[in-house]
Amino acid sequence: MHEISLASSLLDIINEQAAKHRFNRVNAVKLSLGCASSVEPKALEFAFSVQAQGTIADGASLRFEMQPVVHYCFSCRRDHSAEVFSSVCAFCGSEDVILTGGTEELRLLELDVD
């Protein structure tokens, strides 16, 4: 559900950028997002496509750079990347693990425009 708010904020930023850089059409939007950030790319795409209708971003595609969930194990001192969080080390089975990446918030990286 929060994807609706996020899509609306994304469109606001695109409009600000359009006023600044004077472009008339957005072809693609590159975004960055942590796998464990609890934003659903498909829901965001849908919310964006509906809200972008009739705007300069109508029909623009969203491309996601997904940041993996990264764990660090204090026992075997290794990093482990995965799609979902686990408090058990995938290498040695230790439970002395911390989450070090993967909850990064949604960020706009680049706009492909005409």
Binding site: M1, H2, S5, L6, S9, L10, D12, I13, Q17, H21, F23, L31, A36, S37, S38, V39, V69, H71, V84, F85, S86, S87, E95, V97, I98, L99, G102, T103, E105, L106, R107, L108, L109, E110, L111, D112, V113, D114
Partner: protein, 219 residues
């Protein structure tokens, strides 16, 4: 043509939240954002907290719900300033909603502002309100897998209250797993096991919160 932007999508919300926080700091108000699933006991926690600390500190409450005002009515019975935000379908409160609510609250002499967020383990974690601390309430019937399933919520919180410990004999809640997973996500998380029903463990929470309020002085 490609334009490099690099901007946080929630920047506009973050800006409003920072303005709210500046207002709290100026007035010496400590603000907490209470988040949980629906039915975990947020309103009961607010009631208990007001009853326990209301004599020492002036408290105001913002109640967030999708619709209805029954939570605000419960809190208003305690005789403190309360305002209801009805999000009208939105799954979370944002900085702007809190800003709007503040204008209808009498903040004179208020030392603690409690914002009770919409019951939801996903969306509220992302939207800053200007609070000093996020407090996460997890109730034992929900299960111990919640930290691993909703890591962002636990990462963003300063305090985890594990509520409904009075139900532990009747539900399969793995306390050790809940604690382990929550601390793996957030090493700095303060965890208190509580029951709003029989008041067990609440002293720890009151002590922590009082300490935070007392260390917030008017600028």
């Amino acid at each position: 043509m490609k334009i490099s932007v690099v901007s946080n999508i929630l920047e506009a919300n973050d800006r409003i939240a920072a303005e709210n926080k500046a207002l709290f700091d100026e007035r010496g108000i400590y603000a907490v954002n209470i988040m949980s699933s629906p039915g975990a006991g947020k309103t009961s926690l607010v009631e208990k907290t007001v009853e326990a600390l209301g004599d020492r500190f002036r408290i105001a409450v913002i109640e967030g719900d999708i619709q209805d005002t029954c939570d605000a009515e419960r809190v208003a019975r305690l005789g403190i300033p309360v305002v209801q935000i009805n999000t009208g379908g939105a799954c979370h409160i944002d900085g702007n909603m809190v800003r709007g609510a503040l204008s209808s609250l009498d903040l004179d002499g208020v030392r603690l502002l409690i914002v009770e967020n919409v019951g939801n383990l996903v969306c509220p974690a992302e939207f800053k309100l200007g609070e000093h601390a996020k407090v996460m309430l997890l109730s034992t019937p929900e299960g111990a897998d919640k930290p691993a399933k909703y890591p962002l919520m636990f990462q963003e919180s300063s305090v985890l209250l594990i509520n409904k410990t009075d139900l532990l004999p009747y539900v399969d809640f793995d306390m050790a797993k809940a604690r382990r997973d929550a601390l793996a996500i957030n090493r700095n998380l303060r965890i208190f096991e509580i029951s709003c029903k029989n008041a067990e463990g609440l002293e720890g929470w009151y002590g922590w919160l009082s300490g935070e309020i007392e260390s917030t002085r008017k600028r």
